[in-house]
């Protein structure tokens, strides 16, 4: 490798690398703008369609910018009692499912991360399998079960389904975080007279805050965005969540695209803000849980 014949191109490469270092200060942000535009442009189309009158959405040829700017679709949607019901369902279902998942997954994650016991592998195997059984493939079975229980058309059915199918991911993330905390921390707490529950709540949970935040956000968003189970189990219009309800703005009989998109944006914005807030933990949380 030290012969001059090989050294020549290497030096040329070094010069090129220095040139790139200067150029990248401009090239990378410009490429970044391109990437931003690529992922955002459909949603910008959505925003502009929500900000024009419904009739103009169906103009031929379509225009990118609205000819008439109006916020009336947003006003109509917010004052629509049906929309308020859907929003209420989505909030109740997502919050309750998230609370249940946390109450159930935190002790399980802590225990499986810290202790070995008979049946540990069976339990973890069961959790992995639930990750593979998306509610979609089991939807007929889920429908049968809630039909037999008389829970079709109820919040309970949605809450329980969203909770059960999201335990796996929350448990996975939390376990990674618990396992990463040095054992001495707990031993010290135990010596100071903390029971196992006390150690968990007073010592471990504060240390795994990023993991908790990630698990909470993921669960909330999964429940907030759930579609198939709600489509199947809820026929009563007043009990539908946003994802199912808003589709009735565009049917064979009426085409209120601007209202559909105004409602969609109201559903998307809180989730994007939630995600953006935990963006740092999103990477960290996935590293701890998924890639060890």
């Amino acid at each position: 490798m030290t012969s001059p014949v090989v050294a020549m191109p290497r030096r040329r490469y070094a010069r090129r690398a220095r040139g790139w270092k200067n150029a990248r200060r401009f090239v990378l942000p410009i490429a970044g703008l391109g990437v931003m535009a690529f992922f955002l442009w459909p949603y910008i189309v959505m925003l502009f369609d929500a900000l024009r009158p419904s009739g103009e959405v169906l103009a031929t040829p379509p225009t990118f910018f609205p000819k008439t700017w109006t916020g009336s679709a947003f006003v109509q949607v917010i004052t629509d009692p049906a929309f308020q019901n859907w929003l209420k369902t989505s909030l109740i279902v997502a919050v309750c499912a998230t609370v249940i998942v946390m109450v159930v997954a935190i002790p399980a994650a802590y225990f499986t991360a810290r202790f070995s016991f008979r049946g540990r592998m069976i339990f973890l195997g069961l959790v992995v399998v639930t990750q593979m059984f998306a509610p979609t493939s089991l939807v007929v079975g889920i429908y049968r079960e809630f039909y037999d229980l008389g829970l079709v058309n109820s919040y309970t059915a949605l809450i329980l389904t969203d909770a059960a199918f999201n335990i796996a991911f929350a448990l996975w993330i939390l376990q990674g975080f618990f396992a990463a905390i040095p054992k001495d921390v707990e031993e010290a707490a135990e010596l100071d007279g903390c029971g196992r529950l006390g150690t968990l709540f007073r010592i471990m949970l504060p240390l795994t805050l990023p993991g908790l935040v990630t698990a909470v956000t993921f669960t909330f968003i999964a429940a907030w965005n759930e579609y198939v189970v709600a489509l199947t189990l809820i026929q009563d219009d007043a009990l539908k969540p946003l994802t199912v309800g808003i589709n009735s703005y565009v049917t064979a009989y009426q085409q209120n695209w601007s209202q559909l998109f105004a409602a969609s944006l109201i559903a998307i914005v809180p989730v994007v803000i939630l995600f953006a807030l935990i963006e740092k933990h999103l990477v960290g949380g996935m590293t701890a849980g998924a890639i060890k």
């Binding site: 990248r24 992922f39 040829p61 493939s137 007929v140 079975g141 049968r144 079960e145 995600f275 960290g284």
Partner: protein, 307 residues
Amino acid sequence: MSRALATRRRRPRGTAGIAEALLWLGPALILILGIVVDPAVALVGTSFGTYSITGLRKGDAGFQNYIAFLTSPDLGKVVWNTTVWVGVVVAMTILLSLGLAQFLSKEFFGRRFVRWAVIVPWAAALVISSQLFRLMYDYYHGIINGLLLWLGVIHKPIDWLGNPALIMPSMITVGIFVSMPFTAYLFVAGLNAIPGDLYEAARIDGARPSQIYRRITLPLLRPAILIGVVLNMIYVFNSFPIIWILNGSNPGFGNDTLITYMYKIAFKSAQHDVGMSAAAGIFNVILILIAVAIYLRFTNWRRRDES
């Protein structure tokens, strides 16, 4: 309390009895058994029954539902659609996300905003994105035809969702678009986990960027890529809203995947055949398990753990 203390003293540190384990895992176990395992069992039971259109059980069907499903004339087309849908979406998502992740993990001005923008298709419910693309693909009113006509690329509109040759590519494009953000973030996490001094050592040894990528980045990213492929296989196979909504106005089963086909048999077709749909559901679950198992086997999933 005294019993708990006694138990703890008898056992070595870090182990626990089955009773205590049940106490900590019980709630999670009950929910999983009740809402995931029980419907799975109910699904098996349903697949061996005959049902009226209103969903009442009329009697045992034996293997009739399975025979009806496996001999249905649409199955071949549906399985082919599913293979193309899962294969192309997962492969393209992984490839494009590798590049995107590489870009997102570079330091540059405004990176935070780019990362936020990438989150949006992930955060938006799939139904919403699907409705949005349904309008954008529209023959008369869609912005895609509008743009292509305005640019002069085409001279008359393209029927993206009505032309049998174009609907699958149109749906696949949406599938890749919404799968990339999660996958890219997974790979960013994987890239961050690679120690920086490895790159430094390679550079001092005179390795070219392409060599560094092939010899260091890709091998160390392997766990992340494996997880990305497996999770995407499961998500994309089970993906429902994109096909349900973009293919919504086409009659028959010509563009369906196994998931939407199963759903239509039970809830949309004329016969509302819950039994046959359950048989299709069992078929789907077994198929995805086998596909994931083959993939993991093929890539020597455990090789790294054992060494």
